[in-house]
Symmetry: C2
């Protein structure tokens, strides 16, 4: 249709990064290639026509291109007119103002819209979010009502914005060459990927900066004090309180600076919500969809059996592997010991992911059953369950070592003979297995903590970044081979030259996984837990985390830029439900730290590291004491931090002040005050409403109409007379006193 | 000046209750009658003139009359013009709106002010508060700047509004004939005495209603379970959590209904605040007065030695009296035992009030030193100290019995021989005092709890209501005699007939004490403490409190109506710092209850009631368990209560909704949306910003100016073409699949 000019003046970006103004790509999967019935194909066709129609009605321009294989289409959409975008932005900003997210109304001085948008420009994230909402909002709210994978739209596989390759490249390069991320970096993320993602990086950065202290202190404590020092435990708890309370403030501060404070109040309805009946809101008179809260409560109560199930299922797996491991490593000395050692690891590696996936699915089901009206409530409830799951998988092993294996090992280990007996039955000889006399392994706890805080972090990094990358590379090769062999090159050939690179890139992006910030938060929160709960065992923990988190921020950036679809730029004013998890871990840290110090401190325990002789009441007392000290310290720190000023709060204060001033000035202009209040205003000494002499004389003529009130207030005519009479009374009093003294 | 007509049509109230439209009375005390120097008298005279001048400038009408004795004056003031009042009310309502206290702006439809005030009338409390603020506000804010007893105004003894006798009579009569106070009753109090007082009665009423349950349950528990039942303890803790969380919601609800939610944000500057320097607020550019927060922090730190001092001073008094009492009652069997029994009570009665008064003064001094900017911060800090004081005086005795006397009595009582030895030195014979073998008195704890929850409440009632009443009666008689004997009847004679009754009443009111709601709150909070901390000892506690609180509400009403000056109708949106105290006591209850049950439950302790054989770790474990159970239950209850709807919240929601609707409608009117958004609005299927055929042809002529973006979006002309191409692709895919299946 047109020749392709690589250095076209209008297209400022080089062609290979050009996004062709596309706002969203809708990945439309046709019925599965193995056996599409003709009805299915017709259905897909009808739905496709409908899709384009509704998008067009909602104000989008559309283009369709073939997908990677012949069984998928790519629909490109962009907001058709700048006017529609402006109207959407303006409406959303007014809504923000009404919900108190913005202090000032948008466009207060009623500029022409074009001029207003110059003074408060639309960011990319804002545009993309509004476009996404316009695609997904129901039709009665002027949206297109497209919800991927649901109902009519079951063939809509995904709706995603396109990566800004140039930005991504610069982003990764910049971040990998600097130590600290500053506000500017976060602002860029916010404008590209929205506040939800920006909050994650802000949290990560804040946590990273805060880790410097425990890393330095931990290293010195490791050198000077060793493990299980009460001093390290106290400082560590104090640090976690300060960090937690500081973040709570920082979060508010950022939300204000980013103009999203209170954005959680603007709730997004969940399309999957099933209502029982519609009813009129008694207050607003609007039709609302109702689901019985009692029913929901009953379903929420299922969280308790869920938690119990998690503990039982994962717990029994961990306990068994733990027991087998101890038996093989510390009791058994027979044949194949060197191979059998790997048995528990193998069991864990096989069963743990399977069970976790199963339980996560169960958690999803449960959360769906709870049937929340809003996206946030749904997400909160799901995160809660995920936290329980991860708490068990991450910490139960260490808890077992610290609070069961060491103190009660002597009682429990003999029961491990059960393995010996079982094994005996399967061996021909029927002889007892060769065992050694068991002794508590005092280094076990430390080794375990080091494993979780160093090895596991590295493994995690690998599975998160390297594996998907490698996987993609391999799959790509395999696919290419398949693809070529299937001779489906036709679609490739259809691409016009100027679009070919772009379409290839879009097809690749469509295959990428969705980015889920929850997973990254989970990782960081669980990491914080190790620091808070167990770092007293091995004070170098924070050093390991410091290094890890520098890499983590970059690898997460990588993950977003290269391994995931570009995320929808959701807004957020907080790290959400993870805040509670952080608080819980910080508090639990005060309990476990004191218990660990009490149980394992070298000064008290015997030579074998067993804290057998410590009285129970003293342990409990130290836990009680430490926990309450923690609560008191938290109370104090919270008070102190609350009093501190921050740029965000200053900004808010300035805005509020400006608004108040402006409104009060306007009020004065309206002369409401000057007209009505003038009568009693300063200056008319003693006149007020007082009756003038003439009026008084007038009234004296018709005395019967004078009320006692009027009479009372007429005794002294004006302030001057009051002063005169008062002075007379004072003089009289002085005189009478003088007399009585004589 | 005028004849007096008792049935005057304008004065609707009978003359003896008539307040002559007076807003405030300023009690002006002249230099003390014993020795007023002439300079003092002159000073008083000058200050008086100034007083009348500033009041008049601020817009008040004034009248002066002699006081009760010749050494005091009564200055009557009222707002001179209704216009001034309306302007003040309007300004204050606008301020409320700006601070978010009101959802909607006042007078949104711009009615004439007179009409507006008909639709939203000014309550008596509102008028009186604004008048008071006008009297006390500094001159640069258009007030009169009169601060009683400070600086120039050292002769201003008090500024008080006059009681509405008719209302008070009806109030007392009504309340004494009904069991429950309803919303209407509280609204009346709110309109007369302001929200701060109304909140006290609302709290009292809510607490009273909530007491019905523990009273009924406690009575049955007392009959069936006896004391120290864990079941009672658990139910009691649950009840206190529910009550506390319910009140937190109720408080918000009431604040919204009364239109004062968030009123705490509008801070009243403290006139006594001393600033170190003035500086410019970096944000608002206003001049602000600064006091170093570090200095304040240092002074706040004095609270810790203060608390320690309280514990030491009051503690040692209580401990000594406790020891003496035990020695005399349970060990000593010698002469005068029946008289000596009273010794500790006498000691306590003499020293306790003295020490409490001293420490309260110290607390006041400390709070003054902390030098807060605002009235609320000052009050909060003072209440905190008062709570510490009262906690010790009220609960320490019981704590000693429960957790020292009973468990450690056998160790400690022998040390009481010190009394024996001391006494020996003073007796002539030098023989040891006759003693008996000591045994723990198991009923001691119960007796003590009954004393505090029944006897002390009655004594308190007496000191609070009957004593002041009697005192006033006696003083009045004495004064009258003195007065007549001094032949100062002159002032009496000066009163004109129609004012005589009124002036006599005002003179009496001027002598009354100020009403301090803090004292009443303290009493209720401490009472709640007994219930939460110790009622497991004697489950009938709540019954006693139920009766007591019915009387309490009426006697407090009596106290306000008859024994105090009418309070300034301050606003409030909460019971303030007492909320924290309640929460603390409720939490501590979970600890003490479990400890008491564990220590004293009959099943475990020996026949003498001594819990000697209970292992410490079990006690601590039960405390730990109970406390954490409490925290979990609190978390759940809080979640459930938060989800409940309430009239106040409904009102708020309705107001917000109305405001939003109105504003959005206005926005549509402004055509901002319709003008700009029309282009992309629904209906123009596939047209959007797409280039029309003509334009396309136009552009085809100058192909070099077409950007790749334009080219991309030109491939399919409109939605229809997109649909067509998409369908073709789908058909193709189906065909190719069909082929490959063959």
């Amino acid at each position: 249709m047109a020749t392709y000019s690589p250095d076209h003046p209008a297209g400022s970006s080089p062609s290979k990064d050009n996004n062709f103004d596309v706002d969203y790509v809708i990945h439309y999967k046709l019925p599965s290639s193995s056996s599409p019935s003709s009805t299915e194909s017709a259905e897909a066709e009808a739905a496709f026509s409908q899709l384009i129609t509704v998008l067009s009605s909602a104000g989008f321009a559309t283009e369709v291109r073939p997908g990677k294989t012949s069984s998928s289409l790519l629909v490109f959409v962009k907001l058709a007119s700048p006017g529609l975008l402006q109207a959407q932005v303006y409406r959303s900003r007014v809504q923000d103002w009404l919900y108190g997210v913005r202090t000032a109304a948008p466009n207060p001085s009623n500029l022409p819209l074009a001029q207003y948008f110059e003074s408060e420009p639309v960011t990319e994230a804002e545009r993309l979010l509004l476009a996404y909402l316009l695609i997904t909002k129901p039709k009665n709210e002027n949206g297109a009502g497209v919800t991927p994978k649901v109902g009519t739209w079951k063939y809509v596989e995904s709706i995603f914005p396109l990566h800004d390759r140039r930005f991504n490249r610069r982003w990764i390069t910049e971040w990998s060459t600097k130590y600290f991320l500053d506000e500017e970096d976060l602002n860029k993320i916010k404008d590209k990927f929205g506040e939800r993602v920006a909050f994650y990086f802000a949290f990560l950065q804040s946590y990273f900066a805060f880790l410097l202290f425990p890393a330095a202190f931990g290293a010195s404590a490791w050198l000077i004090l060793g493990g299980f020092s009460w001093f390290y435990a106290a400082v560590n708890c104090l640090w976690s309180v300060v960090f937690f309370e500081h973040w709570k403030m920082k979060e508010i501060d950022l939300a204000v600076q980013w103009g999203v404070r209170g954005v959680g109040k603007i709730q997004m309805p969940r399309p999957q919500f099933k209502f029982e009946r519609e009813s009129l809101d008694p207050v607003t008179g609007e039709i609302i969809k109702v689901y019985s809260p009692l029913k929901r409560l009953a379903r929420q109560a299922l969280q308790i059996p869920f938690a119990v199930a998690c503990v039982l299922v994962l717990g029994s797996l961990i306990v068994s592997c733990f027991a087998i491991e101890i038996f093989i490593n510390e009791v058994y000395i027979g044949l194949f010991k060197q191979y059998l050692t790997f048995l528990p690891t193998i069991l864990l590696t096989i069963f743990m992911p399977t069970l976790t996936t199963l339980l996560t699915k169960l958690a999803e089901k449960l959360t769906d059953m709870e049937n929340y009206e809003t996206v946030d409530a749904h997400q909160d409830s799901f995160v809660q369950k995920i936290f329980v799951l991860n708490f068990i998988t991450s910490y139960l092993g260490i808890f077992l070592t610290a609070f069961v294996y060491v103190p009660f090992g002597k009682i429990l280990v003999p029961y491990l003979d059960v393995f010996s007996i079982t094994a005996q039955k399967f061996t021909a000889e029927g002889k007892p297995l060769p065992t050694q006399v068991w002794q508590i392994n005092p280094d076990r706890l430390k080794k375990q903590v080091i494993y979780f805080t160093v090895t596991a972090q590295i493994v995690n990094f690998a599975t998160e970044v390297i594996v998907p990358y490698a996987k993609r590379k391999v799959f790509k090769t395999v696919e290419k081979v398949q693809y070529l062999s299937e001779k489906n090159e036709q679609t490739l050939l259809q691409d016009t030259a100027d679009e070919a690179t772009f379409l290839k890139r879009v097809r690749d992006e469509a295959e990428l996984a969705d980015y889920d910030v929850t997973i990254d938060y989970r990782e960081m929160v669980i990491q914080f837990g190790y620091l808070s709960l167990f770092s007293v065992v091995w004070p170098l923990t924070a050093c390991s985390f410091l290094v890890n988190n520098w890499v983590e921020a970059r690898s997460d950036a990588m993950k977003i830029a290269a391994n995931s679809k570009r995320p929808i730029p959701w807004r957020a004013d907080s790290i959400g439900p993870w805040l509670n998890s952080l608080g819980f871990l910080s508090w639990l840290g005060s309990v476990t730290s004191s218990a660990l110090v009490y149980l394992f401190n070298k000064n008290k325990s015997g030579p074998d590291g067993s804290p057998w002789d410590i009285p129970g009441w003293a342990l409990l007392l130290s836990i009680l004491f430490s926990e309450h000290l923690y609560l008191v310290v938290q109370f104090v720190v919270r008070g102190v931090i609350k009093k501190m000023d921050s740029p965000g709060l200053q900004k808010e204060r300035a805005e509020r002040f400006a608004m108040r001033k402006q409104l009060l000035e306007r009020m004065v202009e309206q002369d409401v005050l000057s007209d009505e209040a003038g009568k009693g205003a300063p200056g008319l000494l003693g006149q007020g409403d007082k009756i003038t002499r003439e009026a008084l004389e007038e009234e004296a003529r018709s005395l019967s109409t004078v009320s006692p009130e009027q009479l009372f207030w007429q005794r002294q005519r004006g302030a001057a007379e009051t002063i005169q009479i008062g002075r007379a009374l004072i003089a009289e009093a002085a005189a009478s006193h003088a007399k009585s003294r004589k």
